[in-house]
């Protein structure tokens, strides 16, 4: 009884001891805040890292192939058994992407993924990260007119048509200009084939126009007068289109070979106003640039929009790899907010990519692939499945790289976890320093209370009892400090965004810049387990710090203590 009474009285009358506990409070609060914010960041980062990576993948080496994918899938299904949720085949290869921006050719390296639009979304979190509202719901490689409003002021078919129309006007205007000066190439013959064809047919050059158009009447804004052909009957090379698109010729109205060829059905002709090339989805950061306005605001500039055409160039497979090039129409963007992914990934339909890269087996007509991506049931052990697959495809016989998504991102994940560990150690050191503060304070209190200890002993209090006065004093101080620290930490975490805003407002320096971190606010996760551990650790340190003074109090000789003045 006297122990509780006395430690309570000491607690109430010695506020300086509370000051020594403030460092415990601050340490505990900091630990909770740091752990919660780090947990939030790691969780966000993991879900983003995991986003496009499947749980486990079997990958052929870069530019390599997995032959007989159906057979492989069968084996994989058999090996994994019940843990398997879904799997998909992917062709992955580096590629060059080029697009036209304000008349300039921009070329960038991308990682091109040929994906199966049926199964890819079931294996990875692909669809939620698309920018188009429509594609998020129902994924396809078709260009939609709607759904891009969230990201772009315009995009889709209307934008595509407008841009083609614009370019057509400019092209025609340039053609007019060309006509004025280069009359011999007056736009009647465009291709070598035509010319040679024409020569074979004994065609003679058309007479030169006798009168040049009036220079002053031509403006780029006005559509140039169309003297020989109408846009509908023309099939054009759209600027930026390469050799991969539908092969079209520009025909002269005086084409003498026309009657020998089968008549061209305008419905089957490629019309960029109505048709799209192979759909492609680009990582948002590929075509995005951040620019700063003079006011210091960040602004995104998009060089490509949905509806624009781009060209991708990549090597074919096999021994005699050669570059091939393909026209694609951007149908959407992929924005996972992981810059690493957003700046490098581009997605194409699997079958198209297999065709173009020559991955079709002529005998079975089955396309080879480069990666099998596997999604497992939520509670499956990734490493165990990976080991099973490695046992099935041993590295002695296969060139495959079999890894979990964590293996793929191991450097980053282990760096983050090491960072967290070190931070925890450092912060616990802070609490340990606080522990030494408690030790010193308690020692002083024991010295101050020497006479009281002597009195208690003279009145028959056992050493154990005297010791427990100071131990319970330490425990109660530690608990008070820890409790206050937990409360403070939780409050801080709860209102961390408001606090960041407030500090930003006062200092004029934005603490948390969403454009840098890609988070709209600071993510936090409070783990009760972590709080319990931090609390117990802090109380333990306080108790340990009070053990030494308490022992000293217990060992005091009553006569010596009473003589103490």
């Amino acid at each position: 009884m006297y122990k509780l009474l006395l430690s309570w009285r000491y607690l109430r009358t010695r506020f300086i001891a509370l000051a020594s506990i403030v460092s415990v409070t601050l340490g505990v609060a900091t630990l909770i805040v740091v752990n919660s914010v780090m947990a939030g960041f790691v969780d966000q980062m993991k879900s983003r890292l995991h986003g496009i990576l499947s749980d486990v993948e079997i990958a052929a080496p870069l530019l390599g192939e997995i032959n007989y994918p159906e057979k492989h899938l069968e084996i994989v299904r058999e090996v994994i058994g019940d843990d398997l949720e879904n799997l998909t085949c992917v062709v992955r290869n580096p590629a060059l992407l080029s697009f036209d921006f304000r008349g300039r050719q921009c070329t960038q390296q991308v990682m091109l993924l040929g994906i199966d639009d049926e199964t890819f979304g079931k294996v990875t979190d692909f669809e939620p990260y698309l920018t188009s509202a429509i594609k998020k719901e129902r994924f396809s490689f078709k260009l939609e007119n709607e759904g891009h409003e969230a990201m772009f002021d315009e995009g889709g078919w209307d934008y595509r048509r407008r841009m083609i129309d614009n370019r057509e006007r400019i092209r025609k205007w340039e053609e007019e200009q060309q006509n004025l000066y280069d009359v011999t190439a007056a736009g009647y013959f465009e291709t070598v084939q035509e010319e040679s064809e024409a020569k074979e047919e004994g065609f003679h050059l058309a007479p030169l126009p006798t009168q040049a158009p009036d220079l002053n009447t031509v403006h780029p804004a006005d559509p140039p007068p169309n003297n020989s052909t109408s846009p509908e009957s023309l099939t054009q090379h759209v600027p930026g289109s390469g050799h991969g698109g539908p092969k079209v010729y520009r025909m002269s109205p005086f084409d003498p070979g026309a009657e020998h060829r089968p008549p061209i059905d305008p419905e089957t002709l490629f019309d960029p106003m109505k048709d799209q090339y192979t759909g492609i989805i680009l990582g948002i950061a590929i075509s995005q640039r951040k620019s700063q306005t003079p006011d210091g605001e960040l602004r995104d500039v998009y060089m490509v929009r949905p509806g624009d055409d781009v060209q991708v160039m990549f090597p074919t497979v096999g021994m005699n790899a050669r570059p091939v090039s393909e026209n694609c129409t951007v149908v959407d963007f992929y924005s996972s907010n992981m810059h690493e992914y957003d700046a490098s990934f581009a997605f194409m339909p699997l079958s198209e990519l297999q065709q173009i890269r020559g991955m079709m087996d002529p005998l079975t007509n089955e396309g080879t692939i480069s990666t099998i991506q596997i999604k497992l049931k939520p509670d499956a052990d990734l490493n165990e499945v990976r080991d099973k697959l490695i046992a099935q495809f041993p590295p002695e016989h296969f060139t495959y790289d079999i890894r979990t998504w964590q293996d793929t991102q191991r450097p980053l994940l282990s760096a983050v976890s090491m960072e967290l560990t070190i931070l925890n150690i450092l912060l616990f050191l802070i609490i340990a320093v606080a522990g030494f503060g408690i030790l010193a304070t308690f020692y002083m209190i024991v010295v101050e209370k020497t006479k009281d200890i002597g009195i208690l002993k003279a009145l028959g209090a056992p050493s154990r009892g005297v010791m427990s006065i100071f131990l319970s004093y330490g425990v109660s101080l530690g608990s008070v400090g820890t409790g206050a620290g937990i409360l403070l930490g939780l409050l801080f975490v709860r209102y961390i965004n408001q606090i960041a805003d407030f500090v930003g407002m006062i200092t004029g320096q934005e603490i948390f810049d969403p454009t840098i971190y890609y988070f709209s606010e600071i993510p936090t996760i409070i783990s009760p387990f972590m709080i319990v551990w931090v609390g117990l650790g802090a109380i333990l340190i306080a108790v340990l710090a009070s053990v030494l003074p308490a022992l000293r109090a217990a060992r005091l000789h009553p006569v010596e203590a009473l003589r103490y003045e």
């Binding site: 009884m1 009474l5 009358t13 208690l456 002993k457 003279a458 028959g460 009553p558």
Partner: protein, 258 residues
């Protein structure tokens, strides 16, 4: 104040004598309460041995007021500490009611100090954080566990209040020691020493820190209580005038009984 205080001091509860479990009949006068045989005790200052008690033998009779008188440095305080088991002798024996107490275990000594001995010190030795009544109750708190104390709290408080009334401090129950005068503090200490109904009271210069007026009051209180509670009292003092009141005076000189 002294007259008022004295009047209050005299106001005893007469019924207590009968109620008390151990009345005067149990303490047959002349029976030996405490015997000391050939006690030696030295202190060490560095390597130098300073002998304080050099073979002290004495006995204390039950119900007696024994005064141990000596010059300062004669070892009388040390002797009292040894009697109160606060310290252990180098050699010699101390017997209390027939059993040897100097060789007891720490636990037994604690029990003895808590229940059988009451102690009063020159510097009062009250706990500054506790009120008067709490200070009086400390031996009871030490004696009982948490729940037992709570169960008996009412009884203990009644007894403590009674004792404080006897020493004339019923109006000071909720005061902290720093709000009390020296005499009041010593009287609180006397009440504390009596709260667990001890058999023997060991007083170490109880008036040594008080002026003569307050000292006399304290001595009167002590004397009245002694008679009322039928206590055996051993008092250490250097003041021969105080010793005059004692039934028996033992003079200590140079570490030996003179």
């Amino acid at each position: 104040m002294s007259d008022v205080a004295r009047k209050r001091t005299i106001k005893f509860d007469q019924s207590r004598k009968q109620k008390s479990g151990r009345g005067p009949n149990l303490k047959i006068a002349g029976q030996t309460a405490m015997t000391v045989k050939d006690l030696y005790k030295s202190y060490y200052k560095g390597k130098h041995e300073v002998p304080v008690l050099k073979g002290v033998s004495l006995s204390v009779q039950s119900g007696d007021f024994t005064a141990i008188v000596g010059q300062s440095g004669s070892g009388k305080s040390t002797l009292l500490h040894l009697l109160g088991t606060l310290d252990a002798p180098d050699s010699g024996e101390i017997h209390f009611e027939g059993s040897r107490i100097d060789s007891m275990s720490a636990r037994q000594k604690e029990r003895l100090r808590n229940r059988e001995f009451g102690m009063i010190f020159q510097f009062y030795h009250l706990l500054p954080e506790l009120t008067t009544i709490e200070n009086v109750l400390v031996p009871k708190m030490v004696q009982d566990g948490f729940f037992k104390y709570l169960a008996n709290k009412r009884k203990y408080k009644k007894r403590a209040t009674e004792l404080l009334e006897m020493v004339g401090l019923s109006h000071r129950l909720k005061h902290k020691p720093n709000q009390l005068s020296g005499g009041e503090m010593q009287r609180t200490a006397i009440a504390r020493s009596l709260v667990s109904d001890p058999k023997i009271l060991l007083a170490d210069e109880p008036t040594g820190n008080l002026d003569s007026q307050n000292g006399r009051e304290v001595m009167d209180t002590l004397d009245a209580l002694r008679k009322h509670e039928n206590l055996t009292v051993v008092m250490v003092t250097h003041d021969d005038r105080l010793a005059e009141k004692a039934d028996r005076v033992i003079r200590l000189e140079n570490g030996k009984v003179a």
